[in-house]
């Protein structure tokens, strides 16, 4: 299969492929409009979610490598019942029953099945490759859902959807802010998990409440999906039991604050992060872009700098801005400054693929 890298930015989507000795931008698609999420399926189908601002969120699909795009239906929220009380518990502002952002898009091993996480926090499922979407009512109607609260965004949202490659009925979601939720029955019922995550932004007696956690991003090891890595607002956590319990990792330097995390597809002890100064400042420590990597289950971390700017660099890497290819060696990440870097040796050396892209929202390998 031809490997492809898809980059969603404030001004469109960019498709990259490997030609000769390096990677090149093969196509700029849908220029001019923000692309909040991208997905490249194993069969070559591409999906993008656009945020058109005035005109709302749209989704498009391409089956010819991005040459042409067809408008596809977007997930729709149900009619809000008259008198229904639904307010963000922090801000006391009404939560709109209206799609504001597609924040997660994942393909299931089950043919045609896609999952979509959104702001305001809802989960949608498609069983026809994105031709239609159904809201997961068990979650939307769960009374605990109304305790979810917005973090950096105005409303709570689902940014991570993990589908178990061995059993696609097992689905987990990461919510900012409402922690980690798991379903063993394809979304029919939900269990709040994530014991052990810690929220320093809450009063001490509430800091360990799993409902108040702000995982920025949750990923699972494809070959051993009971192993999760979590880049949390407070730091790094990992779980070895599918998210039931989590352990805080406090040894990463130069910082354990960040948004993005990826885990090696075969080796659950190997994971990468892009750290920044916590927590309101959010820029690389000392203005030097680094990637941190552990290969021993967080007993130690490497700080990877080769090929990355080490002076006056203020790149922020969003939660979907880092990805790893299925080969376990090729990684790519993109920043708010429009820089895009790629490594083919697990991060030991990085090459800059572009320094002039629009602000980057998401970076994903296809397949």
């Amino acid at each position: 299969m031809t490997r492809q890298l898809i980059v969603g930015t404030r001004k469109g989507a960019f498709l990259l492929g490997r030609r000769g000795k390096t990677w090149h931008i093969d196509r700029a698609a849908l220029l001019g409009d923000p692309v909040s999420m991208v997905l490249g399926e194993a069969d070559g189908t591409l999906h993008v979610a656009q945020d058109l601002g005035h005109f709302g969120v749209k989704m498009k699909r391409s089956r010819d490598g991005g040459a042409t795009w067809e408008e596809r239906p977007v997930p729709r929220y149900p009619p809000k019942p008259e008198g229904e009380e639904d307010v963000d518990p922090t801000r006391r502002t009404p939560v709109p029953w209206d799609l504001k952002k597609v924040w997660a898009l994942e393909a299931s091993p089950r043919a045609g099945e896609l999952w979509c996480g959104t702001i305001p926090g809802a989960l949608f499922r498609s069983r026809d490759g994105g031709d239609s979407w159904q809201i997961v009512e068990s979650l939307w109607n769960d009374p605990r859902r109304k305790e979810w609260f917005g973090g950096g965004a105005d409303y709570p949202g689902i940014h991570s959807v993990l589908v178990d490659p061995r059993n696609p009925d097992v689905v987990k979601i990461g919510v900012s802010c409402a922690g980690l939720w798991a379903s063993a029955d394809a979304g029919a019922t939900w269990e709040l998990q994530g014991a052990g995550m810690r929220a320093a932004y809450m009063p001490p007696e509430q800091a360990l409440n799993p409902l108040f956690q702000d995982p920025h991003r949750i990923v699972q090891c494809a070959a051993a999906p009971e192993h999760l890595w979590i880049q949390h607002h407070n730091g790094i956590f990992r779980s070895r039991d599918g998210g039931r319990t989590c352990t805080e990792i406090e040894t990463a330097q130069p910082s354990s604050f960040g948004f993005a995390v990826v885990v090696h597809p075969d080796n659950p002890d190997t994971a990468w992060f892009v750290p920044g100064v916590k927590d309101e400042k959010r820029y690389p420590v000392d203005g030097a872009v680094v990637v941190t990597r552990t290969r021993d289950g967080a007993r130690s971390f490497d700080v990877l700098r080769d090929g990355l700017p080490q002076q006056h660099a203020y790149d922020v890497v969003y939660r979907h801005g880092l990805d790893i290819d299925a080969d376990g060696a090729t990684l790519a990440f993109g920043s708010t400054t429009g820089n895009l870097w790629l490594s083919e040796d697990q991060g030991d050396h990085w090459q800059q693929l572009s320094s002039s892209l629009p602000p980057i929202y998401c970076v994903r390998f296809a397949g």
């Binding site: 005109f55 709302g56 408008e71 209206d98």
Partner: protein, 89 residues
């Protein structure tokens, strides 16, 4: 018959020609329009059927009053314009 016109900024995304349709309210006018051009609905109205926050609707030169239910009355010959509120980025 009332007529409805859409900003050219929307025509960039979806086919939305000017049309004349029989309607007593803005809601009726748009519903009839969406029957023929269903793709336009999601660009103008949100999931609850309200006018999108950054879409501006003018009825005979005045701002639409009822952006939730679009009950503003139309006369024969009314002109409805759907614009985007200005913003940058």
């Amino acid at each position: 018959m009332a007529s409805v016109h859409f900003t050219q900024n929307l025509a960039r995304h979806t086919d939305c020609p000017t049309a004349e349709l029989p309607a007593g309210t803005v809601a009726e006018l748009l519903e009839r329009y969406f029957e023929r051009w269903p793709a336009v609905r999601g660009f103008v109205l949100d999931d609850q059927g309200e006018v999108r926050k950054h879409v501006k609707v003018l009825v005979d030169g005045r701002n639409l009053r009822d952006r939730q239910r679009l009950t503003d009355a139309l006369d024969a010959g009314s002109e409805v314009y759907v614009f985007q509120a200005l913003s940058g980025g």
